[in-house]
Amino acid sequence: MSSREAILGRVRAAIADTPAEPAPIPRAYRRSHLVPGRHAVELFAERVADYRATVTRTDPAGLPAAIAAALAERSVRRLALPDGFPTELLPPGSEWQWHREPLTVPELDRLDGAVTLAAVGIAVTGTIVLDAGPGQGRRALSLVPDYHLCIIRAEQIADDVPDALARLDPTRPLTFVSGPSATSDIELDRVEGVHGPRVLHVIIIEPEQQ
């Protein structure tokens, strides 16, 4: 008998004595922990910053300048640019070198950072989710360089985890990012950046205020 059959047989024997359907699964938990009246974008910005990530809020017109300021702040110059990233969002000027995909891992390793879009944000947990869609790149792109600048539109921000999971396609490769890489393995002292990017900067694009 194969191990597959043996394990399944043992499982069936083990549960044979139990009622076919245990009590139904209660789903009394909240769909969202966003306090009524609280603005999701507001909370998202606050919670992302709680992880010691940098957060900037801007409108579409202010985006190139916000990107330029973010990059200048860290002196990040050579950046990976994923397929499908709208180049009109990028700041003008020759201070920055944009390295387009395809990039090998050693090539990525020589860059200073990566600029990506995102698929979904989660306000309550301060999480951004990348699904390798247009403008987000392969998973390696936001991982290997030491700096990740992530741009997310306000309407992509879900209130909470249940809503966010429902917006995602699980068959795509997904990366949930909540702050920069961090460890607390040495005397519980939090240190940012071990293997993933040490610096995470999130820019939120909100519709223009009239």
């Binding site: 394990i7 499982v11 938990y29 392969r138 991982l143 460890t183 071990v194």
Partner: protein, 483 residues
């Protein structure tokens, strides 16, 4: 060591002796106390942010119970979904089979090195040692696991495996050992955590960028979509899961969930219970293979290794709901004083005290069900509501049953005495326990205990530990008494 079912567990020495040694180590106790109380406080704060925490726990427990009831169906569904997405599923009845499967998969790639994501399942089966016997070097890439591996040591905590080491010890270890495994530590390395983390980054960088094969565990796998998840902090997980060409994931069969949307419960409970964060820095989710992104070959090894035996036990099966968050460790008065090594198992603390004897058989880890005060704090902390005290009491009865020829009560007391013989352990533990939960107690009494211990509790109610120090009770009732 390995038992006759191929389950690895260390049990050297048995808990009472190991605990005594641990208690003498003041450094260890200070580190542990600080760590557990810090994480405990953080956990309480972020759990309190969710005013439906109890409902989430109820749902989590019910989902796990439902999954266990239909485990055969969900495993087959998971296999189909993973296969349809381009992965390959393997079934491993025990540690030996899992080790053989992984070793052969690595050998088929022609590689002799693998990078590893921290994983309890691969520790449980002793994979690294097995690979080493076959000429394959496994590099642990989680910072704490790296510290443990460089020190030829063992993890002492599920979440922070190297918490028993302080920064100076880690600095000395890096200086002495890193060079034997790869990039050496800088000459002038100080004991600043930031510098130590940087040394680890440099040490492992080349491995990540060149490794062709990675081995991981899994936190969850969704049967409906075939999606597998790994939850982590440092990015070493992402490195291992996405850069190599071949990914081999070893997963206990109990990790399957019915649907992708069930994650909405567990992704809220796990980080908050584990590190006391709203969300851990990185979670990776993948479904089979994706052209042009990540490994081109994905193997999922489904591991039994004693889990179906655990499933067969009506009281013990709830243990399979464990999501390895380690919250029960951080609230346990016994763990806080002994540390993880004393449990002689890769699963320490309250969860180890119930899981290990079930995986390897109670007769093989007879002291572990007694490594507890039954204070109930673990049950209160557990995000999936595993009634650890209930399972402990049940397993104690089994230990007693396993040794025939004596009265049930006499043997239970004798076995308990082994642990209770450690006066400092108990004295200290009971003080904390008195503040702990009263999960089992009603009106200050522990009512009927499940299983064969009915014979004991039917005749008298057992005083609940919080009402009176168990040790005081023990003295009053036992010492100088009839035994």
């Amino acid at each position: 060591m390995t038992n006759d079912r191929g389950v690895v567990w260390l049990d050297t020495p048995a808990f009472p002796e190991a605990a005594r040694t641990a208690l003498a180590d003041t450094q260890l106790r200070a580190n542990l106390k600080r760590a557990t109380s810090t994480i405990r406080d953080k956990r309480l704060t972020v759990a309190a942010e969710l005013d439906d925490w109890e409902q989430l726990r109820e749902s989590a427990a019910a989902i796990k119970q439902h999954t266990a009831r239909h485990l055969d169906r969900y495993l087959v569904q998971l296999e189909e979904a993973v296969t349809a997405a381009g992965g390959t599923v393997h079934w491993a009845a025990d540690a030996a089979e899992a080790n053989r499967i992984v070793t052969e998969l690595v050998q088929a790639t022609g590689e002799s090195e693998v990078v590893k994501v921290k994983s309890m399942a691969t520790q449980e089966i002793g994979l690294n040692e097995h690979l080493a016997e076959h000429g394959i070097t496994a590099y642990e890439t989680d910072l704490a696991e790296l510290i443990v591996q460089l020190g030829d040591d063992r993890p002492s905590h599920i979440l922070v495996p190297a918490i028993h080491k302080n920064r100076t010890e880690i600095r000395d270890l890096f200086r002495a050992e890193m060079g034997h495994w790869g990039q050496p530590a800088p000459e002038d390395l100080t004991d600043e955590p930031r510098e130590l983390a940087e040394a680890a980054r440099r040490h492992l960088r080349q491995k990540f960028l060149t490794a062709k094969v990675a081995v991981s565990g899994a936190n969850f796998a969704c049967a409906d979509t075939g999606t597998v998840l790994v939850v982590e902090s440092e990015g070493n997980g992402r490195m291992c899961l996405t850069l190599p060409e071949t990914l081999i994931t070893v997963m206990g069969i109990e990790k399957v969930l019915p649907t992708w949307s069930d994650l909405e419960v567990f992704l809220q409970l796990l980080p908050r219970s584990s590190t006391g964060e709203r969300m851990n820095p990185y979670t990776s989710a993948w479904t089979g293979v994706t052209e042009g992104d990540g490994p081109s070959a994905f193997h999922l090894v489904l591991l039994d290794n004693g889990r179906t035996d655990t499933l067969a036990d009506p009281v013990g099966r709830q243990t399979l709901g464990c999501i390895r968050c380690s919250a029960c460790l951080n609230v346990c008065p016994v763990f806080e004083r002994t540390g993880g090594h004393a449990y002689g198992s890769v699963y320490p603390g309250p969860i180890g005290a119930v899981l290990t004897p079930q995986l390897v058989g109670v007769e093989q880890a007879a002291s572990l069900p007694f490594a507890s005060t039954l204070c109930g704090a673990c049950y209160d902390a557990c995000p999936v509501k595993i009634n650890i005290p209930e399972v402990l009491a049940h397993l104690r009865a089994k230990v007693v049953e396993a040794k025939d020829g004596h009265t049930v009560e006499g043997l239970a007391m004798k076995a308990a005495g082994k642990v209770l013989d450690s006066p400092r352990l108990l004295g200290a533990a009971q003080k904390a326990a008195a503040l702990g939960g009263r999960a089992l107690a009603r009106d200050g009494k522990i009512g009927r205990l499940p299983g064969p211990l009915h014979g004991w509790t039917d005749t008298r109610d057992t005083p609940a530990p919080p009402a009176e120090s168990f040790r005081t009770w023990w003295r009053k009732n036992r010492e100088g008494g009839s035994s």
